[in-house]
């Protein structure tokens, strides 16, 4: 008798897999590298063998498989991913077993998990916003993740927050992501420090670079910028404040358009907790004059969200669309699966 599904969350650098029962028990979890540099076929093959290996560790045949992948995706085809490089991969290609499969978009599958099991489980309309290397949102609309007419929705990381601002890697101007992703915060801090250390073009004296960063351009992380901000470093505080402002403007726009019950922050940058959420909540309230600001909450599932959402997809594929309703929340919140 089948009593588990195989769940897999495929990221650009690694994949998180697990076996999850219909009662929500996570029987085991595992992780494997995503061989992106070897091309899309190698990635598909790695997924296929990982799913086979996971399934073999369960007791019997899995009831289904759920798979969260990046890019454009329908329930039965991975249509396109710029990140991985595949096009039109049918669900069956990922699975070495004859069991039902359901695919989902990575961010929206994480949003599904936060919706059914996590920080959004008491509401039906909210934004799940993981802030990591990039920024994309899962819009939960009438209780389900919504991807728009063709599945390209939720690109809140690329809305033009500052129309006369900095050019984003995507070629657009003033995108949220270019100010507020974890990588943007690190990059902009290092650049600001470097510009302060360099001789001013006008010849005017400028303050010296903060001692925390050496002149040789030692890489900085967003966590370090957060720590420097907490410690009162003026440059870090400025960069952090610009990220908060870009996020607040984006969330004001999202709120005015989509009227969410709550905004759920996830991803690496949200790990800084109140250092981010307190000024962000305050600024969002200031920006909205004629309506209330939705509360901002931390995500509940951490990096497990994608794998747990994939488990929900697996159970849906297996014919149990209500899976998750009674699951207990005993998953690790952070930093993730074991």
């Amino acid at each position: 008798m089948s009593s588990f599904v195989v769940a897999l969350d495929v990221g650009g650098t690694s994949m998180k897999g697990g076996l999850v029962t219909s009662a929500g028990e996570v029987l085991l979890t595992d992780r494997r590298a995503t061989p992106r540099e070897q091309g899309p076929e190698a990635v598909v093959e790695t997924i296929r063998s990982f799913i086979g290996d996971l399934a073999a560790r369960g007791d019997g045949v899995p009831a289904g498989v759920g798979l969260a992948v990046p890019g454009l995706v329908t329930a039965d085809t991975a249509l396109y991913s710029a990140n991985i490089g595949w096009r039109d991969v049918p669900a069956a290609a990922f699975v070495p077993l004859d069991v039902p499969v359901m695919l989902g978009h990575d961010v929206r599958t994480g949003g599904l998990a936060e919706s059914v099991l996590g920080a959004g489980r008491t509401v039906s309309d909210f934004l799940f916003l993981p802030i990591g290397t990039g920024i994309a949102g899962a819009m939960i609309v009438n209780g389900e993740p919504y991807g728009g007419a063709s599945g390209w929705g939720g690109e809140i990381g690329h809305i033009p927050v500052f129309p006369d601002g900095e050019t984003c890697a995507c070629g657009q101007v003033g995108c949220l992501e270019t100010y507020a992703s974890a990588s943007a915060v690190a990059r902009r801090y290092a650049a600001r420090v470097a510009s302060l250390a360099a001789p001013a073009p006008s010849g005017l004296p400028l303050p010296a670079a903060p001692a925390a960063v050496d002149g040789a351009g030692t890489p900085v992380t967003a966590e370090q910028v957060a720590a420097l901000t907490a410690a009162g470093d003026p440059v870090a505080t400025q960069i952090w404040g610009e990220a908060v402002e870009a996020l607040a403007l984006s969330l004001a726009t999202y709120t005015l358009l989509l009227d969410p019950s709550v905004i759920v922050l996830g991803g690496g940058l949200a790990e800084s907790g109140p250092l981010l959420s307190d000024p962000l909540s305050g600024r969002l309230r200031e920006l909205l004059t004629f309506r209330e600001a939705p509360p901002i909450r931390p995500a509940a599932l951490g990096v497990s969200a994608g794998m747990l959402g994939a488990a929900l997809l697996g159970w849906r594929a297996a014919g149990d669309p209500g899976a998750g309703a009674t699951w207990r929340l005993d998953v690790p919140k952070s930093p993730g699966v074991a």
Copy 2:
């Protein structure tokens, strides 16, 4: 036998009513002033007597009543309208007959009509954007208008397009509406002309005001600014271009978030046709680098959209949720009901 519903679209200055059969035949239409200055009770009473009068002109008892109202509204209660001043008015208070009633939000009810009968009838996910005295959008999501968690969604007129821009009447900064509504275009043109006519604060000479507007501050309309733009007037062209830029930024944001199949422009400003839609389409395509821009189409139903949407609500109340699917489009496109 009942073969018609009473449909009413309540606006801030006037109400458009009609009798519509289940086959979509508009038996008659009529119009009455909205006595807003007399207070909310007078408005409710006027709606009630207007509905009674319309119903009496039909053959028999209506199968239902559909009513589009501004503000916050559920299917059975008009919760709040700043414009009209009412709070918590039950649907039954609007109707002097014992027949089923359904209420709807004014802009979203117009969007419902464009969705079922009009410019959006071939797609299930789009934005209906009427640009008039104000700007609000109807977001059609999975085939139905979506109002967000509490019904406050669609406020695209107040998203912060230019975060360092002009203060809006709502108190927020840089709202779309303060640049691109019909009234904003007229107001900003008049102000720009006045500022050019006035002595420059710095004492520098500035170009004289265009001949088309006298120095006494004659009121200008958006239609006049459109005509001046078409004629090559430099100040009008500048103001028009700023409205186009604000709209393009807003539609870029909407597209990145909600991925609509199409954007349907309605309202007074859209009457200018290609003078608005051509530069807007072009600029939207420029702003979006990594995805296609949705096509921009004119609305099909003109000022009849709200009344026709109310007719659809009336038929839904009467137990015919599929009403509209077979209706023929013989409604006047513009300027509206007879």
